[in-house]
């Protein structure tokens, strides 16, 4: 399995569109255990990404990820902006000047991204954050499990967790049974990558 720039950009486009369409749903999740802006933030950022994707033609995956990361950092804001932005910046350095990615390279990039989110957020898997999707996704990728099923499973696990990071942590155990908005948006973003693998 190799992933081309075109495939990568296509998956990204699908992920961006999925987030934009889920704006209200994500915002409603954030109203429950946050401040009601996650969909607004992510849709704003991925709208920019989506509009810029066309202009990336002819560049490599590393370039694409760097541009996407900077756009996200500059336009999403909130907690999710620096986190998702950092993930793409980590992709960018892992995949610098790569026109295609092998399975190993893809996996390594996602591992860097997870580490980047964890470092930026001072957080780890199991705290009811976006990491609860990013980390299982990356593990499934590494071990060639069914990525799509893994995401579905990860969301269920995340929903049942007590919250330890971000605004949801204000609610602690009262967040049990509610979905983390960042986990939900990460699932929407990453699911299309399942198809290209």
């Amino acid at each position: 399995m190799t992933v081309t720039t075109e495939q990568f950009v296509n998956a990204l486009r699908k992920g961006a569109l999925a987030i934009i369409s889920a704006k209200d749903e994500l915002t409603d999740l954030d109203r429950e255990i946050g401040d009601g802006d996650h969909g607004i933030n992510m849709a704003r950022g991925f709208q920019h990404v989506h509009e810029e994707l066309a202009s990336y033609e002819g560049t490599d995956i590393g370039e694409v990820c760097k541009a996407v990361g900077m756009t996200l950092i500059k336009t999403v804001g909130g907690a999710s902006g620096p986190l998702v932005g950092t993930a793409f910046i980590k992709f960018a350095s892992a995949w610098k000047e790569h026109g295609t990615l092998t399975h190993e390279q893809l996996t390594a990039g996602f591992q860097e991204a997870c580490a980047g989110i964890a470092a930026r957020g001072k957080s780890e898997v199991g705290q009811k954050t976006m990491l609860d999707v990013w980390v299982p996704f990356t593990e499934a990728l590494a071990t060639r499990q069914n990525v799509d099923e893994t995401i579905t499973q990860a969301l269920q696990t995340c929903q049942a967790l007590s919250a330890k990071k971000g605004r949801a942590a204000y609610f602690g155990d009262n967040a049990i049974g509610k979905q983390d908005p960042g986990a939900q948006s990460s699932a929407l973003l990453l699911r299309p990558f399942a198809e290209v693998m």
Partner: protein, 324 residues
Amino acid sequence: MEKLMQQAKHYVRDMVLGIVSAHPDLYETRDGLPLILRKGGAIQGKVGLVSGGGSGHEPAHAGYVGDGMLDAAVCGEVFTSPTPDLILEGIKAAHGGAGVLLIVKNYAGDVMNFEMAKELAELEGIEVETVIVNDDIALPATSERRGVAGTVLVHKIAGAAAAAGQPLQEVKRVAEKVIANTRSIGMAVAPCYMPESGKPGFDLSPHEMEIGIGIHGEKGLERKSLAPVQEITAQLLQKLRQEMQGNDVIVLVNGMGGTPLSELYITYHYVAEALQKDGVSIKRSLTGNYMTALEMHGFSITLCQVDDELITYFDAPVHTVGFR
């Protein structure tokens, strides 16, 4: 709740334009960015103070830009942390050669975005320090505690230290002293509504109140039947006093944006009465809208334990729209 605005997506842009045109003698902005800068720019040799965060807390933070307080306020989207590139512009504008102190409220988003901005500013050779305000005792775990109305006291007192010509490390020490000495807790009887979604932060039935609300439409931690204000303030003060030793305090009764000022003064009356009974000496007090959450109807109480140093800085002259 209907919004008085042109378009939700221009809410912050239009607000910033309004702030700057309403106070041409006090403010300037730059390149159409959602930044409020003290007119005339950075003061050479003075430590620059930068704060900010999501919008919707007006007069915070723009209203505290001015002589004796902040040099720049960075305005994110409503209740959304501003991005690092914007914060960097604020840092650059506030830097007068003596470094910059960032006063950040303890939210994951603010902490990360200001941290990234600090890294970028350091790359450009600007010395930057950060203090994290976490005065809201609604949450037991101090690591998760939010920065709320007490932030205004940090602006005021650290601002006075900077205006007095103190160096960066000293201004930071003073700011951290205020933070260590300040505790707040809030309540609401009606939520706020997000401009973009038009939805309330939480749904309250009539005759109910939320205790321990945040300033972003976050639900409170406890929902109760509404009580007379003397009972509410007694309960909140008890929580605050459990965390404080000293008996000399600054009291801030802060309105959440949609609270009539008459209710805030009524609240202050019962707060002051209870503190005096408790042997606490109110050195200074503030009552009004200082750190709001759009049109939320409620209040928070902040106590800041003070000594001569903090009172002297608190009393130092200040020239801003939001604080006098």
